[in-house]
């Protein structure tokens, strides 16, 4: 990353005291001014703006200083030890809410059950539950801090009807607390490859966000295919690179049972990176899902049951 020129630092410090301290994180003067405005407006009581600027200079994430991050229509409380919701996640979750809240799936009366694994702040489950009126949810996370934070966020955003489970899903698979029937399974598992951590991750994330929520190879996606596909009607998992998508797609394609009933799709974020691997079962609901999820992403693999059905209907 290029060094910030001394003239820019001098210019910033002349505009407002402390503004130059925001430059290392913000990079541009415009962004620094915006952050300064947000800090001035939303700083928790008892903290000075000078303190906040020094925190930013030391790479502390803005969301940990302000203790919150907007997520769609919600305001999510953020605390050290729990991953901060990213705009990419917000983007695909809001797309999903938009599609589902207008779909025929909601017209029948049975409520949708949402299950969110690796939930962290609980942002995905809360946003979905907030946007889909007739729904209930379960969230699962290994971290105690995360579960506590989900409770706080449920209170703050006035979302109820949720079940919270603190357990490591990678090691305890046959747990009777897990819901037996899920309509929508979501997850934002740790997906940064260990060998890329030093190279690709920015300083602020490296220093302040929990590695437990960041570093992962393929085990979470393996767990998805092995243990969750039998319980759910659809899944939406965030990914960090194309290989993670290929892994899920190939596991489903190569399995004679799964390839018959599961279709797999891929969604890119607006920055052009592969972001979500999703799939749905070829049930009666499946053909509806095939239609309503059309604008969400691109279907890369169509379940043989559905493709035959399609051929017949033609």
């Amino acid at each position: 990353m290029p060094r910030i020129s001394t003239s820019l630092i001098r210019k910033a410090s002349r505009i407002r005291p402390g503004l130059h301290l925001l430059l290392p994180e913000c990079r541009t003067l415009e962004q620094a001014k915006l952050e300064y405005k947000w800090l001035a407006e939303e700083l928790p009581p008892g903290r000075s703006i000078r303190w906040a600027c020094f925190q930013r200079y030391n790479h502390v994430p803005l969301q940990y200083i302000l203790r919150s991050q907007p997520f769609g229509p919600l305001e999510i409380v953020c605390k050290p030890g729990v991953l901060i919701p990213r705009w990419e996640t917000e983007e695909w979750v809001m797309d999903l809410v938009k599609i589902l809240s207008n779909s025929a799936l909601l017209s029948n009366n049975d409520p949708l059950h949402i299950c969110d694994t690796f939930t962290g702040t609980g942002c995905i489950a809360l946003a979905l539950s907030h946007g889909i009126p007739n729904s209930s949810f379960t969230v699962i996370d290994v971290s105690r801090k995360a579960i506590e934070l989900v409770k706080e966020n449920m209170l703050k955003n006035k979302v109820s009807k949720g079940k919270l489970i603190q357990r490591n899903i990678l090691s305890s698979n046959g747990c009777n607390e897990y819901p037996s029937h899920i309509d929508i399974l979501t997850g934002n598992p740790p997906y940064i490859r260990k060998r890329h951590f030093i190279r690709d991750v920015t300083t602020s994330v490296k220093l302040f966000e929990p590695r437990l929520a960041l570093i992962g190879e393929l085990e979470c996606y393996e767990n998805l295919v092995d243990h969750w596909l039998s319980k759910t009607n659809s899944f939406f998992y965030e990914i960090g690179d194309f290989d993670q998508f290929s892994y899920v797609q190939n596991r489903i394609k190569d399995d004679s049972n799964l390839s018959r009933i599961w279709s797999v799709g891929l969604k890119y974020d607006s920055n052009g990176n592969p972001r979500v691997v999703y799939g749905f079962k070829a049930t009666p609901k499946g053909s509806i899902l095939l239609q309503i999820l059309e604008p969400f992403g691109t279907i890369k693999y169509l379940a043989t049951a559905l493709s035959r059905h399609k051929a017949n209907s033609k």
């Binding site: 969301q63 705009w87 690709d200 966000e209 929520a213 965030e238 960090g240 690179d241 607006s270 990176n273």
Partner: protein, 413 residues
């Protein structure tokens, strides 16, 4: 002298000077008749409405009768029809009043001419009646004019400095304060959607003000255009008067800003019609970085309109705001195009009022504010800039616009 006094009854605004008060198109002055026997001039001059407008009003009256018939038969009215009915009955009431006053005037005129014994009294009554008659007739003209398509909408005001550097930025800030003051004075709810301040801290680079009062667009739409200021700027060291400008754009808000309606609107665009750009550096994104840059840029490809928004911490909210502004700009553009088409079709020679370059001058040395479209001048600059007396300027402009539109209505008939 006596005559001219009658022709312009109580039209001058307090402290204001009306330059072109009456359009000769609208009215048909009756000829001055003289009594050959006594050779004294009697006041007979009043302005009758053009027969075309009267015909229009009679048409509406007939329509109201039809509707009343339907109503008495017990036919169910929906909301729109009810609205139409109430509009028509208000119009017809004004028309009936107009006809009554006109007949009274004509009657008085006859008495003055034929009966010398009652002449004095009749003349006095006549003089009193003329202003009342004028008020009724102008009310009727306003009712006959079709309302602006977006008259009921809340509004968005965009301010940008024009020529004049920092001084223009300061003037743009003055205008922003004026509109905020005006909203306060009117007790309207407002919100500053975005504001970019000049780096040195004086003046603005741009600002968008949202006024959430329904109908505020109808009031503020004449503010659109280039505003000119003449004063000795605070940045001037040698005491010279500078002329600078700032542009004001007024747009109707096409719906409320709740995220649901935004989503609904987003869907009404065809795929590929809108490009949504997020301004972010390349990289892997996702969990790898935690950026606070949430800027969004929308490009409406068919029209080339670009809107960017970065004020909110949430990209989602920035997107919603950007869509509100894009929607407003598109609506305004479509309306202007439609108006332009209608105007061309009519081949009327009427010069456009809402797009003339410089619409108003704020002259500080003379403490004067002049609206160039209607020629209205007010000598109280602080009062206007605080927003308290802006209403008078707008009122003058509204009247001017009504006459202009009445002119167009007549031509189209």
């Amino acid at each position: 002298m006596w005559l001219s006094k009658l022709q312009f009854p109580s039209k001058s605004v307090v402290k204001g000077i009306f330059l072109n008060c009456k359009s000769p198109w609208l009215v048909r002055p009756t000829s001055t008749t003289t009594n050959s026997q006594s050779s004294t001039t009697i006041p007979t001059q009043y302005s009758e409405l053009s027969p075309l407008l009267v015909k229009q009003a009679e048409k509406y009256e007939a329509e109201l009768k039809e509707l009343d018939k339907d109503l008495s038969c017990g036919i169910h009215f929906d909301v729109n029809k009810q609205k139409h009915h109430s509009n028509l009955s208000a119009l017809t009431d004004a028309f009936i009043e107009y006809k009554e006053k006109l007949n009274e005037l004509k009657g008085l005129q006859e008495i003055i001419l034929s009966d010398p014994s009652l002449k004095e009294e009749a003349e006095q009554e006549y003089v009193e009646l003329v202003p009342k008659y004028e008020a009724t007739s102008s009310r009727l003209v306003n009712k006959l004019l079709p309302p602006h398509p977006f008259a009921e909408k809340p509004s968005l005001l965009e301010l940008r400095p024009g020529v004049g550097g920092v001084e223009a930025m300061i003037f743009a800030q003055n205008l922003l304060d004026m509109y905020i003051g005006y909203a306060n004075y009117k007790k309207w709810k407002y919100r500053i959607i975005s504001k970019n301040e000049n780096e040195s801290g004086s003046g603005i680079i741009d600002a968008i003000l949202s006024i959430e009062e329904a109908g505020s667009y109808d009031r503020l739409r004449f503010e659109a255009g280039v505003h000119r200021v003449q004063r000795i700027p605070s940045t001037e060291t040698k005491g010279r008067t500078h002329t600078s400008t700032a542009a004001v754009i007024v747009l109707p808000q096409m719906g409320d800003e709740s995220s649901k309606s935004i989503d609904a609107y987003e869907r009404t665009f065809k795929p590929g019609e809108i490009r949504i750009d997020i301004m972010r550096a390349s990289g892997k994104g996702g969990q790898h970085v935690n950026t606070t840059d949430s800027a969004v840029r929308l490009t409406h490809i068919p029209s080339g309109i670009v809107v960017s928004m970065q004020d909110e911490r949430s990209q989602h909210k920035n997107k919603a705001k950007a869509f509100t502004i894009l929607r407003a700009r598109l609506a305004e553009k479509e309306r202007l195009e439609k108006e332009e088409k209608e105007r061309k079709a009519r081949k009327s020679q009427v010069s456009s009022t809402n797009r003339s370059d410089k619409i108003r001058t704020y002259n500080f040395p003379q403490n004067r504010i002049t609206d160039h479209r209607c020629g209205f001048t007010l000598l109280d600059l602080p009062g206007v800039l605080s927003g308290e007396r802006l209403d008078e300027v707008i009122e003058a402009m509204t009247k001017h616009d009504n006459t202009e539109r009445a002119k167009e209505l007549l031509e189209s008939n």
